[in-house]
Symmetry: C2
Subunit: 225 residues, 2 copies
DNA sequence: CCAAAAGTGTTCCGTCTACACCCATGG
DNA sequence: CCATGGGTGTAGACGGAACACTTTTGG
């Protein structure tokens, strides 16, 4: 290959993933202990280096797949983090991505194999390098999205109750919402469909299960929460 | 220095700047003809490579300074662009930034020296690599910001008329707004101060000149447009 | 005197918010 | 029979949108 930009220096580029999940009414992030030096043993996001043969998005998807075994996750870029000394080993520029997963889809054994766990975003430890900053920014971006686009369903099972959906929304936005007002808004969105099924696990009376109809949404995109 | 991440490949990282200005009622972007191979002669954003000794933000600031002679511009990261073949020369990952400048502050001779010009964002030519995509994303981000934060003043002279401010807002959001409603909202923001001065250049009657009071804003941040 | 831009309030409508009680069931 | 979470409607407040005429002055 012809070299055009010979005189400029190259750097390592990595991706770091902020993986959000919804567990026990809490918005959680998947983190683990770092397995490499420098910083071995510190709490850290899961990440990896970008290879020559893949785009940054591809790298993020690969890393997500390595960790979760899942493809086609909802994923968005958070931004590039590039302070000179952000990595104590050597210069590494990192592109952060956030992803949403339904924790029920996540194979427990894979989780153990990678030594990662769900931690309430409100109780995150100090993490390696600038990872806390990445999570903070990702969370803000996610909050903005969740009121405008139907991404919440990515964090829930296919069938969910309205109470679950409300709790999720509350956890993400970190504020309580009125039950009746919330349900009124849901009713206006025809693509959130009530099924005949009843969930009895969380109450004696049982709660109707709902489903997000993606096709219906694509035809009339009027999401608003 | 100890090498920790030896086995991974490194890539070139550049920054590209989407510089917005407001000229003749139009939202414009500063672009020029590329001076390097590959792609010499194509329309392009202004950019540069990130050096070992500087953060990505520093690199963007340096590049902006090189081009405009101005420091402390309002600047925000748009994101990382990293398709494998985005640069036909060799692999380059680029971090895009957008910046706002008051075109009156921009030295004409510097502009000529770099061979860049203001082009209406509605009439942008096809540009090098993924630069059109960068502009598109930057514009969307700027639109979201301009209704929530007082960044519009970065695109105007210190003293401006309400009509100017309104035209700017319309150009950025690409929609007309009602004059009376617009002015009503302005009146609610005490940090947009009317001065005794009158601008006579754009009308016979003359229009009051206003000023953005940053200190007053910092004390009570209730911006909303 | 007229063209051209500056400046100014009110009404209406829709949206958001606050709020309390009955229902169904398992234990 | 009671504790627990599920489910429902209305009224009042608020904010956003629509809308038209007067003022000033240079040419």
């Amino acid at each position: 290959m012809t070299i055009f930009y010979n005189e400029h220096s190259k750097v390592l580029v990595s991706v770091d993933c902020i993986i959000f999940g919804f567990e026990e009414g809490k918005l959680c992030v998947l983190i683990g202990r770092r397995k490499l030096d420098p910083g071995r043993g510190q709490w850290s996001l899961y990440g990896g280096f970008v290879r020559d043969t893949e785009s940054i998005d591809d790298a993020a998807n690969r890393v997500l797949f390595e960790l979760t075994g899942l493809r086609n996750l909802y994923m968005r870029q958070v931004g590039a983090f590039g302070k000179v000394d952000r990595d104590p080993g050597e210069r590494v520029i990192s592109i952060a991505y956030y992803a949403l997963i339904n924790t029920k889809d996540y194979d427990k054994s894979l989780q153990e194999q990678h030594g990662v766990e769900w931690v309430d975003i409100k109780e995150l430890p100090q993490m390696y390098s600038d990872h806390n900053e990445m999570v903070f920014k990702a969370r803000r971006m996610m909050q903005e999205k969740i009121s405008r686009e139907p991404i919440s369903f990515r964090l829930l099972p296919t069938l969910f109750t309205l109470t679950q959906l409300q709790r999720l929304y509350e956890a993400v936005c970190d504020e309580e919402v009125d039950k009746r007002n919330f349900r009124k808004r849901i009713k206006e969105m025809d693509f959130i469909e009530k099924t005949e099924l009843i969930d009895k696990t969380s109450s004696k009376r049982g709660a109707s299960l709902y489903r997000f109809n993606k096709k219906a949404y694509n035809e009339e995109q009027n999401f608003k929460l």
